[in-house]
Structures are given as C-alpha cells and as structure tokens.
C-alpha cells in the first residue's frame, strides 16, 4: 500500500472504549451459594420427602422405548423456552463484533480510530423472532472526509456481520452524515446487494478483508 491517506489519526485508548460492564453484582453471594452447593453435592441420600422424585444428578433408569414419545419435545418446548433467560442481541454486542476489525492502513482497530461508535449503532428487533425481519443499522465515521477506504471498511464490517449474525438480520451500513465528500455514492455501494456480492467474488479484495478481520476478538 502506498502512503497512508490519513497518516496521523486521533487514537482512542483501548481502555476508554465502551464495554459491557458487568453490573456490579454481589459476588460474595454467589460464591457463598457455590460453597453451599459443593457441600450438598456430597450427600448421597435423597431428602426424606423427595425419595421418589428425580434426583438431579441421577439419570432415569427407564427403558428407551417407554419414553420416546414424539410429541414430548414439542410439548416441553414452550415451557423450557422460558427456563433460559435470553440475552438479546444489542448495540454493544454489535459493537463488540466490529470494533476489533483492523483498519486497512493503520495497525489499529476501527474502534480505536473512532470509525465505529457505539452510539451510531442501532438494532431493531422484529416482533416475532422467527418470522419478522430484524435490522442492524450502522453509521461509520471515516477518519477524514476524502477517505477512499471508506467503502472497504464498510465492506469489511458487512462481511463480519454477515458471518456473525443470524440470517434474520438485515444489515444496513451508512456513512455518518456530513463526514464524507461522496457520502451518497459510498452508501449506495455499501448497500447494493449485487455490488457487495460482486466484491466478495474478488479474491484479492477478500484477502484484504480477511486480513482486516484476522484481529477480531
């Protein structure tokens, strides 16, 4: 690559980037519970009143044929769905996916260069997860207004997200308003299916993108 277009960008320190801060929970509580569980696991005798109820660690000693009823899964499905909490895919998660992509011309990540910012990501979920379409909207901020690599960066982000998000998501990537000379052109290029598909056929381009994605964490 020839001389970098923006040789002297502003850099954000990694520690200053937004992260998913674990809500400061009382760790001692769960540690104490664990201690309690550990001791209990040593008990062999079932609780007196629960002698005939399934033991957690004990597989049922029932023959295979007896229980393989086909409807069982479906019946249980609804109940079990609730038993597991859902972490929704949110803005921070999208940010985490794309923030560690490397810039094509600096040994820095897109987040360090403030090309992608948490506040410029928007996730919209469909009402029904299974049938409705969901959407991710990302606005990228080129380091300088005539950055010719903006399309490449956008393409890199798109490839990363297409690989990492479930197919129900539509991905839309735009240049942040007023941060690039040829905003509209780039936007068109980035969201045109045909063009993106064509770009992904280009093996040389794909190599560059692979390099950008190789730092993803």
């Amino acid at each position: 690559m020839s001389d970098p277009i923006n040789a002297n960008p502003t850099i954000i320190d990694v520690s200053a980037l937004p992260t998913r801060i674990s809500a400061s929970s009382d760790k001692s509580k769960s540690r104490h519970d664990e201690l309690f569980e550990r001791v209990l696991s040593l008990s062999l005798a079932p609780k007196k009143h629960s002698l005939n109820i399934d033991n957690l660690t004990l597989p049922d000693l029932v023959s295979d044929i007896e229980m393989e009823s086909p409807t069982e899964d479906e019946l249980s499905d609804a109940i079990v769905e609730e038993s597991e909490d859902e972490d929704l895919i949110d803005e921070q998660e999208i940010f985490d996916l794309i923030s560690t992509i490397s810039d094509p011309e600096h040994p820095l990540t897109l987040a360090q260069l403030a090309v992608v910012n948490l506040e410029d990501i928007k996730v919209t979920h469909g009402v029904n997860k299974k049938t409705d379409i969901s959407e991710v909207l990302i606005k990228i901020t080129p380091t300088i207004t005539h950055c010719s690599l903006a399309t490449l960066i956008g393409l890199g982000i798109r490839v990363r997200l297409e690989r990492c998000l479930p197919p129900r998501f539509r991905i839309r990537i735009f240049i942040k308003e007023g941060t690039h000379q040829s905003e509209n052109q780039v936007n068109k290029q980035l969201n045109d299916k045909e063009r993106v598909a064509a770009a992904c056929e280009n093996s040389q381009l794909l190599t560059v993108i692979s390099q950008m994605l190789s730092t993803c964490k």
Partner: protein, 1096 residues
C-alpha cells in the same frame, strides 16, 4: 654414553610418517623422544644427527615434518634444563638460519616460541633475543604466510613477554625492538584467533612499557599500536559454523575495547575517532562505541580525561537531548537501571541513552574534584531548557539528576540551580529573591500558569531530582549520611514542594487522573526518601492519600474501585509504610477512617469493596492485629444489633471471610504465632457467632467461621494443642462449656450446626495430640446416632459425617471397632436382592460406610483399600440396581478435597507453630483411581446400565487433578465417546459436562488419541452446541454444555490440520448458534466461524 635401546631413527620416521594424518599418534613419538633426552639416554647432538637426513632432505614435505619433529620434541621437553645453554644457543642458531626455508617456517617459528621459554634461554647470551627479534622482522613477512604460521609468530612474542618481561623493561633497546616486532607481526592480521592474541599483546605492551611522547620513535610506536588495533573497530564478526576455536564476537569486542582503553596516550586519536563512529545509525555499533568510550574514560588518566571532557560532553549531550527518553521512569528509585548491561539488548536504541548517561556520570565523577568548570558548563548548557517546561526539560533534568547523584556538593549545586527563581522556583512558589528580577517576571508571567500537560511533565521531572537524592544517599557512608540529611539544599525547598504537590493533588480537576497519579507517585517517593521528611510532613502526605481514597469512595461513581487514582493512592500508601511510625500513621489516618466509613455503609457491595481496600492495606501483623480488634468489636455489635437477621448474617460473613483472607496473606509474607488470639480473640468471637447461630443457623457462616478458627488454631504453638483439643472436646462433646468456648449444648446428644466449626478446629490440631477421654467405639457410635437423626438436613449430616471422618482419620488408634461395623454394613448391602428397595436408613448407613473408607484411604490404611475393593466388587456383582447406582455415585466422595483434609496455607512451607495437622498421605488418590478406573471401564463394557459407570466416572473426574488423569486418557476415551452418543433418555448434564471436559483435556494433552474419531465427533459436538435437546421438559444441553461443546470444536479446528473438508458443513450447522439465546454461546459460535473462514 650407552647406546639407546630405543631405535631413534624409527621413532623419528614414525613421527614423520604419521604427523600429517594423525597428530595424536605422532605426538606419542615426540614425547618418547623428549623422555629419552630428559633421562639422558639421548643427547641433543645425537638427536640432531639422527634427524639430519630428513632435515636436509630435498623434499619440502619431509623437511617440514622433520622440523616439526624437532619442534614437537622441544615442546614436550617443557623448558627442561636438560638442554644446556650451549644446546639452546645451537638450536637458536640453527632455527634462525632455517627461517628462509618457507616450507618449514611454521615449525621453525613454533620451535623458537617454545625455546624462548627454556630455562637455559638467556636473552643476553649469544645475543639470542635480539637476534631472534631482528630475524623475525627481517626474515618473516606476515602477509605471505597462512594464519597458522602467523599464529606461531604471535606465540613467540607472547612467550617472550611472559618469560622475559623484566629483561625487556630494563633493556630499553630490546623493549623498543619488541614493540617494533609486534607492530611488524600484527599488521594486516585478519584471523580471529590471531587477533585475540594480537589485542592481548597490544594491551600488555601498553601496560608494561612506558612511552615517552617526546621520543620520535615512541610517538611512531603509539600511532602504530593504535592503528594496528583501531583499524578493526567496530568489529562485526559472525563465527563460522565449524569454528574449532569457538571464538565469539563478544570476546573480540571486549579484547579490542581493552586495548583501546589501555593506553592513555591513545586519547588524542581514540576520542576523536570514536566520536566520529558515533554518527552510525546502527544501535549495535553505537552501543559498542559508547561502551568503548566508557572504558576509556574509566581507564585513562585523570589529566587526559580532563583535557578531552569538553569534546566528549559536546558530542554526548545531544545523544540525550535529541532523543525520546521515556525509558527513564520518574517513579523508580534509580535513574540508570541496574543490570542494564544484561537486561537490555545491544540492538536497543535505549541502551545508547543509558550508556551515554553512564559516561557523563563517570566523566563527572572523575573530574568533579579537580575541575569546577565541568559542573558549570553542564548546568550552563542545560539552563535554557529549564527556564520553562518544554520539550527538552526532561532530558536536561535526567542529565542533571545523574550528576547530582554523584556527590553532596554536586547535588546541592543542581538543586539550588533547578529551584532558583529563574528556573522552576517560580512554579513551586519560591520567593523572588531580588527586585531586579522584575524584568524576568514580565517575560515569564504567562508561563507561570502551567497547563495540565506541563504540570504532568514538571511533576515527572521533580521525580528525577528525588531519585538523585535517593541514589546519592545509598552511596554515602555513615558519617556523611547525617551531614547530608541536615545540610542538603533540597531541605530548603521541602515546604514549597509539599505545598505545590498537595495543591496539584487537591485542586486539579478530578478528570486529570494521570496528573494525580503522578503526584501520588512523587509524594510516595518523598515519604520514602531516607531522613528527609519529619513526622509532621509524613503525616501530611498520609492525609493526602487518605483524602484521595476517601474521596474516591464517597464519589460513589460506577466501578469506583477500578479508579486508577485510587489504586495509585493505595499502592503508594502500601509502599510508604516502611517503618513503625508510618504504620501508626497509616492506621491512624487511613485505616481508621476506612473502618469508620465501613460502619456507616449499609450497601453490601460497597461494604465489600471497602473491606477489599482495607485488605490491600493490611500488609503486616500490627495492622492485622489492630484490624482484628476493631472488627471483632464490630462483629459483637452486629450480633447484638436489632438489624434484620439476613443483613446481620451477611455482614458477619463478609467480615469473617475478609479476616481469614488477610490472616493468610500476612502469614504468608511473615509468619506469626496466634497464642494470644486464643485467649483474646476467640472467646468473644465464639460468643457472637453462637449468638447469631442460635437465631439463624446459617451454614455458610459456619463454614467461614470454621476457616478462621482453624487457621488460628494452626498457628498456635504446638505445645498448647493438647489444651486446645481438651477445650474443644469439653465444649462440644459435653454439655459444659470450656473457658474459651462458651458452648453449652452437647453436639453428641443433638445435631448442632456449630459442629462445622468444631470440625475445622480439630482438623487443625496437631495430629500427635490425643483426645484424653477418647474411646473410639463410644464416640463414633454416638456420632453415628446423631447422623441417623439428621435425615432431612443434608448439610448438617455431611458436617457430622466429616466429624466422623476426622475422628477416624486422626484420633482413632485402633481400627478394630470400625472394622466390625464396616463388615456389617457391606454385608447388608451384599445381601440385597434385585427386588429390595433401599430405605432412607440404608442410604445413611452407606454414607457412614463411605466416609469411614475415605478417612482410612486418606492415611493409606490397608483396611481402607480392602473396602475400596469391596465396593468395586459390589458395583459389578450386586443384583440390586439401586445399590449399584448408589455405589457408583459414592466413589466420588473418596476423591473430593475437603478443607478439613487439605492444607489451607499452601504458600507456607514450614509452619512457625511446628504444627502438623493433616494425616493425609500423598498419592492416595492415584492409588484408588488405579483400582477404580479399570472396574468402571470393564463394567461399562459389559453391562446394560452403562450410564451408572459413566456417571460415576464423570463425578470422579470432576474431583481429579489433571496430572493423575493424563496417564489414563486412552482408557477413558471410549467411555467419553459412548456417553456423548447415549440416547437422550439416558443422558444428563453431569455426564455431558464431564465427558466434554475430559474430551477437552484429551485433545489438549495428546491429539493423536482422538484423531481417528474426528469425523464422528464433529457432528455430535455440533448437535450439542447448536440444537436444543430436551428430555421430559428439561433442557439437557444447557448453556454450559453448549459452551463446552463449542470450546471443544474450537480446539479441534485449531489443533488439527486438514479439516477443510468439514468447513462447509460446519459453517452452515453453526448458523442456529448465532441466534442462541445466550450471548456467550453466540460469541463462541462467531469465533468458531471466524476460524473456519480462514481455514483452507
């Protein structure tokens, strides 16, 4: 003379025949010849006569070997006086005449070099030495000879020098001739081995001979000696692959450096040439140049250095001034890093900076007393950089700090200069000394207010001055120390500095974290400078730290405990506590305040965070003791307060847990005895614990209190342990309470939660101590009785089972009583038929049995192993399914590590109280595993209830260390594979978890084991990772299982090559994982897909 019985010509011929092919064999012949001469059986004359034909042979090869024979024989004679002076003279004459014979030259020279060492080689006799040296100059031309031959010519010189040094010194003409000879021989040398000798000789000549600069000849010598060495500088040498001499570039560099620095009179050439080479851009060369310069400054005479220092200073200062000096850290206690020579590579540009600074310091140290100009020049040169804070200030202050560390005088001068009003004095508010300075004031007015960046730089720069105080202090002897402490100039500016730093700390915006950290670093340094601050000033600094710590805590921002300023203040405080008075300060000013803060904190998260900070500050016994007293009072207050019981228990738990942690930390750093704690701490502690337990039997609290009590017991002197055990037995096993432990119930009559504390206490009692009233049968049966009563409270029952195990393991001397019981138990289970139903009592009986066995195998008692075999037997032969299942599950108990049977202070090797509390043998787990594993594997193969064995194994694996597991991986793999493919009716999370964990270990340890099964494994893992497997409304592959499956897949695709064929299939199978409900699963799915995309 008797004709020799040896055949001399044969020896000579054999030598000549073998010397070119096998020098080892040939040397035996020359040794024999030499022996004959020494024993007088052969005279030199005879020897030469016999050599005669070959010596005069027309064939070059024969002639050369013949001279070689002579030379080797002479060498083997080892300077013997058997050769008379006359003999020596004859041979010298002969050899000198032989020098024009090119074919023999190497050996002639070698022979001469041995000859000069002979006792009968007299330099003056026959003008031997003079003729030899002259002949070498006139007859031998180094340029026309091979390296080996040239090596001999160097040998002549070095042998001459070592054998006839005094003669050469006293006879100047010969000395001069010798030097001339050396220059002749050394010119144009290229061979590394010869160069090493050449440099050594050159150095020796410079050290031995005195050269007169007014003497033209000597002047010429000096130039030549310098040239013949310096022309190689800087040496870059890569040893050839098969170098027989193993010469390194380092050796050559060192010798050359020694040569250049060995002659003061080289100075006029060496300094200018070296400085010129400093312009190189290669750091290796620059570092070589600087090291050589340093050695020259060290070795040359003071007068010479004085003559050249200005040139050096002018050349060197820019090395520092024009470079980035971030390698020098202002918070350290040294300017020049110790061990820099070995720790920093020669390739590193930073080493140049350090070396330059070392040279400047060395220059200064050498000249300071004789020349006042050096200091003034340096200060004068740097002045402009110090008037205000700008880009070269740090560089300049580093140089000044380096020279300030050299002497008291210099320190004072530098400090006075740096803190004068014109320089930094104005920033730290030093009074303007004169009215005429008004003019300056106008100039600098705008600079007086520094921006944040400049404030940071200034604070950093101050740090270097403090460092020089510290460095200088280290150098001074006892008498000087006091003079320095009282009369140094830094004391004059102490108040200014303290106020200045204090203001920066308190007045600057809370956003300026870096600045605050830097200020704290320097305050920490000030407080640790020896003999600098007085008590009041120390107090001031500690109160600054307190303000920072309390300030951050009360700010109550999110995650305030991660604030870097807070961390700096804590580590600063810890570092500053270096003597008793400062411990007092830390306690009085910081810790007490934190404790007060704790008192008013209701939120348990904040409460714990503050406890953690106190824990960080708890670094020695005095602080711990003080904390134990304060917190004990707190515990009493909590137990008596009318707060909600949940809150009380929670606070109690956290405090006890912290105390335990701190106790261990202080013990690990410096052990102490807890004899006094037994009487001072424990009684009240027990009182409040028991009060709380009667209100609310919280088992976690029991565990945590037990940990602390156990530790305290362990560190009480061993001699007191009988008394302690008596106390505990009396308190718990009778309805009376002992004087320490106010416990009035009898734990043998009813099940009491506090038994957990008793367990940990007696587990920590020395194992040599006995229960006085102990009758195994009686106590054990009583404990068993209690156990049968606790059917419903599993936790409490396990506590009592532990009591049972500890009693058997440590205190039962006669196992016969137990043996009967155990036989009875196992008999009962063996008799059960397939229709028998196990009662609750059966289960508990079995528990008692397994805990007995555990107690016994821990001390590797043969009864224990006998019963492990019985269990294994029962596992395979019992017709009762429920029993089989119970045995399978129970085996894990044998492997579980319990606090009462493991060392709770693994960091401490030799316990100060001399207590050995555990009665546990090493490797017991390995021994029982080796019995149990084959049984499980066999049964698994042959039985229809294979999941019993899988389950059993998975429970054991959870408690087994990897080191034991590793040697059994091959046997375990089939079980793992089966369990992953079990029908889901027989599957459960425990089996899956341990199978996946084991699989991970197997792949990590030894890839080859799994390689063949990959095609089968990958789809199975994918199903586990992405699908949802339900059985009876219960999710089998929970988040944990999915994560484990993905981790296994990741390690598979990372470790094995040629998996591209799975790429496409795996990528698409992973898609559902991208929409998993749990974020961690999605993350790993992404990671795996990323790995797959890069696979080809």
């Amino acid at each position: 003379m008797v004709e020799s019985i040896h055949n001399i010509p044969t020896l000579i011929n054999q030598f000549i025949a073998t010397v070119d092919t096998d020098s080892e064999v040939s040397s035996t012949y020359s040794e024999q010849l030499a022996e004959l001469i020494v024993e007088g059986e052969l005279t030199l004359l005879q020897f030469i006569q016999k050599l005669g034909p070959s010596l005069t042979s027309d064939t070059d090869a024969i002639r050369s070997r013949s001279v070689n024979c002579l030379s080797s024989t002479l060498g083997s004679l080892n300077g013997s006086s058997k050769l008379t002076k006359q003999d020596v003279n004859v041979i010298v004459d002969f050899l000198l005449s032989k020098l024009d014979d090119k074919a023999c030259l190497q050996y002639s020279l070698a022979a001469l070099s041995t000859l000069v060492k002979f006792r009968n080689f007299v330099p003056s006799l026959n003008d031997n030495l003079k003729r030899l040296l002259n002949a070498v100059i006139s007859e031998y031309d180094p340029k026309k000879n091979l390296a080996r031959t040239r090596y001999e010519s160097f040998n002549i010189l070095s042998n001459t020098l070592s054998a006839h040094k005094d003669y050469l010194i006293t006879h100047q003409d010969l000395g001069d001739l010798f030097v001339k000879n050396f220059i002749h021989v050394a010119s144009g040398e290229k061979d590394p081995r010869n160069l090493l000798v050449s440099f050594e000789l050159n150095t020796a000549i410079n050290q031995i001979f005195t050269f007169d600069e007014t003497n033209e000849l000597h002047k010429e010598f000096l130039t030549d000696l310098f040239d013949v060495a310096f022309c190689y500088f800087p040496i870059s040498f890569t040893p050839p692959a098969n170098d027989p001499y193993k010469i390194t570039a380092h050796q050559l560099k060192e010798k050359l450096r020694a040569t250049i620095s060995s002659q003061t009179l080289f100075a006029k050439d060496s300094f200018s040439n070296l400085i010129e080479k400093l312009t190189s851009t290669n750091p290796v060369i620059r570092n070589d140049v600087l090291k050589t310069l340093l050695q020259c400054v060290e070795n040359y005479s003071r007068e010479t250095v004085e003559e050249y220092w200005l040139t050096l200073w002018n050349a060197l200062k820019f090395e520092i001034l024009h470079n980035d000096v971030s390698i020098f850290k202002s918070h350290l206690n040294e300017i020049i890093p110790s061990e820099y020579e070995s720790n920093i590579d020669d390739n590193d540009d930073n080493k140049t900076l350090i070396l330059t600074l070392v040279i400047i310091s060395e220059l200064f140290q050498k000249l300071e007393e004789s020349s006042s100009t050096i200091q003034e020049t340096i200060i004068g040169d740097l002045k402009e950089n110090l008037v205000s804070i700008k880009d070269k200030s740090k560089q300049s202050i580093i140089i000044l700090a380096a020279i300030a560390s050299q002497s008291i005088h210099s320190f004072n001068k530098v400090v006075e200069f740096v803190f004068s009003y014109g320089n930094w004095g104005k920033y730290v508010n030093v009074e303007n000394p004169s009215t005429e300075a008004e003019a300056i004031e106008i100039d600098t007015n705008e600079d007086l207010v520094l921006n944040i960046a400049k404030q940071r730089d200034l604070v950093d720069n101050l740090g270097f001055i403090f460092t020089s105080y510290f460095q200088l202090f280290e150098k001074l002897d006892k008498n000087e120390v006091n003079v320095f402490a009282e009369n140094n100039k830094l004391v004059d500016f102490k108040d200014h500095l303290l106020i200045f730093l204090g203001q920066l700390l308190t007045n600057s915006s809370s956003m300026e974290k870096t600045l605050k950290c830097k200020v704290i670093q320097q305050l920490t340094k000030l407080v640790t400078l020896p003999l600098f601050l007085n008590q009041n000033e120390n107090e001031l600094i500690f109160s600054y730290f307190r303000d920072v710590i309390i300030g951050v805590i009360s700010s109550n921002t999110l995650n305030w405990e991660k604030d870097i300023v807070l961390k700096e203040a804590i580590s600063g405080s810890i570092y500053a506590i270096d003597n008793d008075k400062k411990i007092d300060l830390a306690i009085r000013l910081i810790i007490t305040n934190l404790l007060d803060l704790l008192e008013n904190t209701t939120d348990s998260v904040t409460f714990n965070k503050i406890l953690d900070i106190i824990g960080d500050l708890c670094i020695n016994y005095r602080i711990l003791e003080m904390l134990s007293v304060r917190l004990l009072n707190r515990l009493i207050a909590i137990s008596q307060s009318d707060k909600d019981i949940e809150i009380k228990v929670n606070l109690f738990q956290n405090i006890v847990e912290s105390l335990t942690k701190w106790f261990t930390k202080v013990q690990t750093s410096k052990q102490f005895l807890t004899n006094s704690w037994y009487h001072n701490f424990l009684p009240k502690f027990f009182e409040s614990v028991f009060r709380l337990l009667t209100l609310h039997p919280d088992y976690v609290l029991v565990e945590l209190c037990g940990d602390l009590v156990g530790l305290i017991v362990k560190f009480i002197d061993q001699s007191k342990h009988q008394e302690i055990l008596d106390d505990f037995v009396e308190a718990f096993f009778t309805s009376a309470s002992s004087k320490i432990i106010g416990f009035e119930r009898n734990a043998l009559d009813e099940a009491v939660p506090a038994i957990g504390i008793f367990n940990k206490a007696i587990a920590n009692v020395d194992k040599a101590v006995k229960i006085k009233t102990f009758s195994p049968a009686e106590y054990l049966s009583k404990v068993c009785d209690v156990i049968y009563t606790v059917e419903d409270d599993q936790f409490l029952r396990i506590q009592y089972l532990q009591t049972l195990a500890i009693l058997v393991n440590k205190f039962a001397e006669d196992e016969s009583a137990i043996e009967g019981k155990m036989g009875e138990f196992i008999g009962h289970f063996t008799q059960l038929t397939s229709n028998s139903k196990l009662s609750q009592k059966d289960y508990i009986t079995f528990e008692i049995l397994i805990w007995y066995i555990k107690a016994l195998v821990l001390k590797v008692h043969k009864l224990g192993f006998e019963y492990v075999n019985n269990l294994v037997q029962l596992l395979s032969t019992s017709s009762n399914l429920e029993t089989k299942e119970l045995v399978g599950r129970s085996l894990m108990i044998l492997f579980t590590d319990l606090k009462v049977f493991t060392n709770q202070t693994p960091g401490i090797k030799k316990v100060i109280s001399k207590v050995t509390n555990l009665n546990v043998k090493l490797l017991y787990k390995q021994r029982i595993f080796e019995v149990i594993l084959p049984a499980l594997v066999d049964n698994h193969k042959n039985s229809e209830n294979s999941e019993i064995y899988l389950n059993s194994l998975s429970l054991i694996l959870k408690n087994l260390s990897r080191s034991i597991l590793v040697s059994h991986l091959k046997e375990i793999l089939p079980l793992v594979l089966t369990s992953l493919t079990l029908p889901k009716s027989r599957l459960n999370s425990t089996i899956l978890r341990s199978s996946l964990n084991t699989l991970f270990i197997i792949i990590e340890e030894d890839q080859s084991i799994v390689e063949g099964s990959l095609a089968k494994l990958i789809p199975i893992l994918l199903t586990l990772a992405t699908g949802k497997i339900f059985y009876r409304k219960k999710l089998i592959n929970t988040e944990e299982i999915r994560i484990l499956a993905l981790q296994n897949l990741i390690i598979i695709f990372e470790k094995y090559r040629d998996l591209a064929r799975f790429k496409k299939q795996t990528l698409s199978s992973l898609v559902p994982g991208l929409d998993d409900k749990r974020r961690n699963v999605r993350k790993l799915s992404c990671d795996l897909r990323q790995i797959l995309y890069t696979l080809d």
